[in-house]
Symmetry: C2
Subunit: 201 residues, 2 copies
């Protein structure tokens, strides 16, 4: 099964994506010493998905979900992170990321290029249960991370509970287990007064 031309290509791609470790997000790691990067976010998201999927009211394919999660933000290596509340950045996010996807994934052998591009599009389109679960977990991890880091990102960016609840609506409503997880964290954020203004809608 070994095609000697494939391995150098795959290793080159695995080196390119090392840069994922230097794409920083607005969120902080729990101890607040620095921002969280995409590699850490992705690993943590995979752990959220793995440890919560058995709590869902529906059956999802965890293998497929993990594939979507592990690769969902790779385009940011070329397109950069677009923060959740960056309205201007979101105007051309889709276009920038599509433009990043081609040169990035084309570094792989053609069959793998098609496969990984397919996973990324599936995540983006959010039509399958696994893509919808991955989306919900993306938001849950980001929200939980901001609770773990005492709401610092919310203070720095003027994010209120009301704004956060609106942003997380589809993720909160994905499944009763996620609704409960979000509510536990919103309750903690309220109890600890982590919001920049006390507008707990």
């Amino acid at each position: 099964m070994i095609d000697i031309t494939r391995l150098p290509t795959i290793l080159h791609f695995l080196e390119t994506i090392d840069q994922f470790k230097t794409i920083y997000r607005l969120s902080y790691i729990g101890e607040q010493s620095r921002h969280e990067n995409d590699a850490e976010h992705t690993w943590h998201m995979a752990m959220f998905a793995l440890l919560l999927h058995q709590e869902l009211s529906i059956e999802i394919d965890i293998e497929h979900t993990l594939k979507l999660i592990l690769t969902h933000d790779l385009v940011e290596i070329y397109a950069g992170d677009t923060p959740a509340y960056d309205a201007v950045g979101h105007l051309d996010k889709e276009k920038r990321e599509e433009q990043a996807a081609q040169p990035l994934f084309a570094q792989l052998p053609e069959d793998m290029h098609i496969q990984i591009y397919g996973w990324w599009r599936e995540f983006e389109e959010g039509r399958t249960p696994e893509a919808r679960y991955a989306h919900a977990v993306d938001k849950l991890q980001a929200f939980a991370q901001n609770v773990f880091a005492q709401g610092r990102t919310w203070h720095e960016n003027g994010v209120t509970a009301e704004k956060s609840r609106a942003y997380n609506r589809s993720a909160r409503e994905f499944d009763p287990a996620l609704t409960q997880a979000f509510e536990l964290l919103y309750q903690r954020a309220a109890d600890k007064q982590l919001w920049p203004e006390q507008r707990q809608s």
Copy 2:
């Protein structure tokens, strides 16, 4: 299916493992600005496993492999990282990690505690094809990372090509595809003179 006592427990564990992002390894990220941490190493390993498993001469269960990889180093949150060439640290590594596993995994509901502890033991014992593949990928990612970062870790720790080849023997021999991947990287390390001494055994 929702048991309201489970979610707080799982979220607490997901917060504990945020500390994974501050367990630093001897290896550097590619641009050498800082050491790589366990969360980044684990995400990158998962990508190596995902993108190389179809190149293997044997069939392995990638879902199970990803579960082993995502959780294989979590005990280091309490036990710390034991560098590859730390002979003293390796004397009690097994004992320290076993002592770390219980209080860490016991933070989860009992069924999940048993499951995740089982994955960790399976990885440690290395008897299944998935555990053996995960082990080989652990070493391949670490080795590749040191090539990507221009051999800096080898220089700082006096690691020669000979010592590295001995350390990576079982990973190199796991499968012809991994043999080729390692040889491509050893060739590059030699061509770029990345070793502290020119002892390319």
